[in-house]
Structure formats: C-alpha cells, structure tokens
C-alpha cells in the first residue's frame, strides 16, 4: 500500500514523475485527499470529495501502458458547477442538493483524457453569483492566507484549494470576474479564456453570453498545461472557436522585449495604496524586461457594472427557469403546477439568486426591455469597440483586478450594490469576450496577496501567459504558494 508522501508542488513536475513511474498517481491522489481532510474544516473550500472514483482512476493510471498526458496522474479540484458523471453537482445551491449527474462536462472529459484525476468539487457562490463566496448554500469559504477574509468569488473554493495546496490545479468559471477575483485574493494564477475557447457543455449555466471556464494554478506553466488540456472546439457547444488543438505550453517564453503594454493610469490611481505600490513595481519590472508602456483610454469602464448586471441577470433569469421542481432538484408541495414552481423555487434558491432573478425578470418584462436590456447591449458594443481601439496601440493591457485585496467576511455582504461595484475592473472583459489573467505579484504588509490583471485581444491567451511567466521569473523573493499553513 502506498505511503503518504508530500505531493509535488507543481503539476508539471508531478505529471512528469508519474509518467516515468518514479511517483505513483495513487500516492498523489491520497496525499491530496488527505490534505483536504486536514484543511477543509477550517477553509470550507470543498463541498464533496470523489474518493472512490479518484482512487480507481489513479490505479488505472498507475497500471497504464500508454503513459502520456499533459496532466498524467495529477489531482484536480473542480468547481461544483461542472458535471462529473456519477457525482453530485450542486452549483452551491440547495435547489440542486442530491443531484447526481449522468454525464461529464466536455472539459472534465478532456482533463481526464490528459490523465488528470478529479478529486473534489469546490465550494462556490450559489450559481456562481457572487464576488466573495459568501453566497453559497454550503457556507462561506475562508481565505487560506487569513481566515477572517473572503477568498473572493465565485470560484472561491477552487482558489482556496489551490492556494492551500489541496491540489496543484483547479477549474473555475468566470462570468464577471469569478476566476480572476479569487485568484487575486488567494495569490494564485487564474485564467479566464476568450469567450468561445472552452466548451460550456456540462457546466451549470449562469449567463450564457458571458460564462467561460478556465484554470487556476500556482505557476504559469501549470496554468498553461491545464488551459491547453481543456481548450478547443466542441461540437456540443456552437459558441466554441473552430481551433481544435490549443498549444500555449510549447510556445511559452518569458522574452517580452518590444511588447507594448497599455495602462489606464486612473485605474491604478484608484486602488488601495498597498495594491498600487505592487502594481507599479510590476509595471516597472515589465519595462526593465524590455516592454514599453503606453497610456490608453477605456472610456466606458464606469458603465460596465451597470451593463454587466443588467445583461447577466437577464440571462440568468432565463437560464434558471429550468429549476422548477419537476425534472430535478428540490420539490416543494403545491396544489397547482404554478404553486409547485413558486414554492420549490422560493424554497430552493438563496437570497442573492432570488434578487438577481427578480432584477433580470424586471429588466426583460414588458415595457422595460428597451430601457434596460437593449440599452445595456448597446453600451456593451461600445465597451467592446473601446477595447478594439485600445488594442491598436498595445499588445496587452495591465491594471488592477479589484480596488483592494481580500476584504473581511461579512464586511460587504449586507449591501448588494457595494458588492457589485467590486467587479468594476473584471466585468468589462466578459462583456467584450476577451481573455484575461490574474497573476500574483506580491504580498502586502498585512500578509494578503495582490494580483495583476492582464488583458489581451480575443484568442491571444499566449501573450498573457508569456507576460505572466516573465513576471514570475523576474519578481524577486515572493513565495507564490500560499502553503503558509503547511
């Protein structure tokens, strides 16, 4: 029987050792499951573990004669809105409690085709609606760097799992910042790919024109491997881009000489002093590596929150109509069909989800459609045009992910508008369908990590990964794993 060994720090190294037989997948999986058991009572990052399924797969991998796969034997945590055949998928909601999926999402099949082993389903804001991970029906997730703070949302469980070394890689989804915010707050890398890069098939839908799945990791190379594993055309999702094989890993380079980096100075001026210092230092580092910095203008940033919440809630009110107590999930009694719907939905959905369904239903209701939804879609085009104009002057844009580092639990949860305003720098990326990455660039004096937001043209994930790699190599003395808790 396998002995407990410390899991290798990174997926790249671990996969290589499992491929050549010097490390066992079973040991890697057991070590990961053990860490979850030890750390989860404090962090609440995981909703369910897939012990039996994971160990079965690990044993098959150890016995396999064909030993290739980008993530061969690597334990992976996935947000609980990805369907994994035979296991519970809750999307952080009471309404889906006990729902066991009879198929796997395309991205899960792809991860597994590369040898990855899904070990657990991560906690999340209910239906991915939140920026702090305080909206989960399974309780708030804690930040591994400081348990009094939020991990960010909505992929907070995924970020906390990677930051606390439960697994080297996790998958999240990002509708308005849900990968990048928790990556920033938890000191890990998080990539939100271009809309259409990654299949949405088998992922619980929130807002279909904005949702995109992506990886989180503790190194750029791991992030690239995980992204390459899941990206590419899927005939089950007609919004996926036609390119089938995506390979950023073999093209990774930290040579960024001549890259033009766009900066909106007012965005950096607006953030908390600690964040500002680290962001400025990171930009200076990029300059010293041969990049040039150009001032750009993104004229509709201030409007992006309004546009985003109007469009996201409208799409959500339609997507969440399927939770009616009939075909799956929680059912409450009702004398008529309408009563059954109303009671089941009233019982199953949490307050933030109800609030957003109400807002979206209002925006789409007769007499308000033009003033709200249509107007928002028009400004959405202006936001996209604004990015296109900016990218004529630069190859990528860098700036803040949020206005501060992780805030205290419950500090903002009573004020929905204040919480929404937190997403000012992330939502416009989803509205324009662009790829963006949050890269950890340092720890502030109070011990909380800070991320840098990198944004590129559609389908240019490569430049994001390359620039993030150059920072990873160049920034001195920064311990990137939040393995502070052992």
């Amino acid at each position: 029987m396998a002995t407990m060994q410390k899991i290798k720090n990174h997926a790249e190294e671990l996969a290589s050792q499992i491929r050549d037989g010097s490390f066992k997948a079973v040991d890697a999986v057991e070590s990961s499951l053990d860490k979850i058991q030890k750390k989860n009572s404090a962090l609440n990052a995981i909703i369910s573990t897939l012990n039996e399924r994971a160990l079965d797969r690990a044993q098959q991998i150890d016995k396999a004669t064909t030993r290739n796969g980008k993530l061969f034997g690597v334990p992976v945590v996935v947000k609980d809105n990805f369907c994994v055949e035979g296991s519970q998928t809750t999307a952080g909601s009471k309404i889906l409690k006990g729902f066991v999926s009879n198929y796997s999402a395309t991205v899960i099949e792809r991860l597994e085709a590369q040898g990855a082993v899904v070990i657990a389903k991560a906690n999340m804001d209910e239906f991915a609606m939140g920026s702090s991970n305080e909206n989960s029906a399974y309780g708030a997730v804690k930040n591994p760097w400081n348990e009094a703070c939020v991990p960010g949302g909505s992929s907070g469980g995924s970020a906390a799992a990677v930051a606390s070394e439960m697994a080297p890689i996790a998958l999240g989804t990002d509708t308005g910042g849900s990968i990048r915010l928790p990556a920033h707050y938890c000191g890990v890398y998080g990539l939100k790919p271009t809309y259409g890069r990654v299949s949405r098939y088998g992922i619980v839908a929130f807002a279909s024109s904005l949702d995109q799945a992506g990886p989180m990791a503790r190194s750029v190379r791991d992030l690239s491997l995980a992204y390459d594993s899941v990206a590419g055309f899927d005939h089950k999702d007609s919004t996926t881009y036609t390119e089938t094989a995506v390979d950023t890993y073999s093209k990774l380079t930290s040579n960024i000489k001549g890259k033009r980096i766009g900066v909106v100075t007012s965005h950096i001026e607006n953030v908390d002093q600690n964040n500002k210092e680290l962001i400025t230092k990171a930009i200076d580092t990029l300059k010293s590596l041969g990049a040039t910095v150009v001032e750009i203008d993104l004229p509709y940033t201030e409007n992006s929150i309004s546009v985003y919440y109007m469009i996201a809630t409208s799409e959500a009110s339609s997507n969440l109509a399927r939770y009616d107590g009939i075909r799956y999930g929680v059912r409450a009694e009702g004398a008529t069909l309408d009563e059954l719907y109303e009671n089941s939905r009233g019982l199953g959905f949490g307050p933030e989800v109800k609030r957003r369904i109400m807002l979206g239903t209002y925006a789409l209701s007769s007499g308000y459609y033009d003033a709200y939804y249509k107007k928002a879609c028009q400004v959405r085009r202006l936001i996209k045009n604004g990015f296109q104009a900016a990218f004529e002057k630069c190859d990528l844009i860098v700036g803040p992910v949020a206005t501060s580092s992780a805030f205290k639990l419950t500090e903002r949860s009573q004020d929905p508008l204040k919480m929404y305003l937190n997403d000012i720098y992330t939502t416009s990326i989803n509205l324009a369908g662009l790829p963006a990455l949050s890269a950890p660039i340092g720890i502030q004096k109070d011990g909380l990590p800070v991320g840098l937001h990198l944004i590129a043209k559609a389908y240019d994930e490569q430049v994001l990964l390359n620039v993030a790699l150059s920072l990873e190599e160049a920034l001195p003395g920064f311990e990137r794993t939040a393995g502070v808790r052992g």
């Binding site: 409007n303 008529t336 059954l340 009671n343 939905r345 307050p351 959405r380 508008l417």
Partner: protein
C-alpha cells in the same frame, strides 16, 4: 423606486414565492441598483447595434445523424417525483 406591487408582480412572472419581508427588502435593494443603472442614460447609443454575444459563433452545424445517447430513465431518475419513466406533476387540466 420599485413599489411592493411591482416586486410582487415580478415575483409572479419569475415564479418565485416571496415573503412580505422579502418584498420590502427587494423593493429597497432593487431600487438602489436600478438607480445606479440610470447612469447609462447619459451614454449616447443612437444607431448602435446591440451586442448580444461577444464573439461570432462558429459556422459549425453538426451532421443530422442518429448517435447513441443515454437511456431515458437515466434522465428521469433526477426527478424528485416519478413513476417508472414518467414524471409526476399536479393536475394540469381539471
């Protein structure tokens, strides 16, 4: 300001049961959020085509052919109330 009546009407449209407390709360919170949206009115969007999806979808159309799929009972099994392969619901036509 979103009135209690409007909140109740929208809840009905959304098939959501809401308590009196929730009606009061949503009335206040949604009003505040919608006030924020008013800032959009200042943006000139005359002649701007609404953007409903960010990147053009692929031209792909799958071939219309029969492929194996899961048995019906694996889908019906999710339902909280069923008889055999049928989902049970309250009487619809009296």
């Amino acid at each position: 300001m979103i009135s209690s009546e409007t909140v109740k009407h929208v809840a009905k449209l959304a098939r959501l049961k809401v308590s009196d407390n929730e009606v009061n709360e949503y009335s206040k919170q949604l009003s505040r959020v919608l006030e924020h949206f008013e800032s959009l009115k200042a943006v000139n969007t005359e002649g701007v085509e609404p953007l409903v999806t960010p990147n053009p979808a692929s031209e792909y159309r799958r071939v219309d052919e029969v492929v194996p799929s899961k048995e019906a009972n694996t889908w019906i099994s999710h339902s909280p109330d069923k008889i055999g392969n049928l989902v049970k619901v309250p009487t619809v036509v009296g």
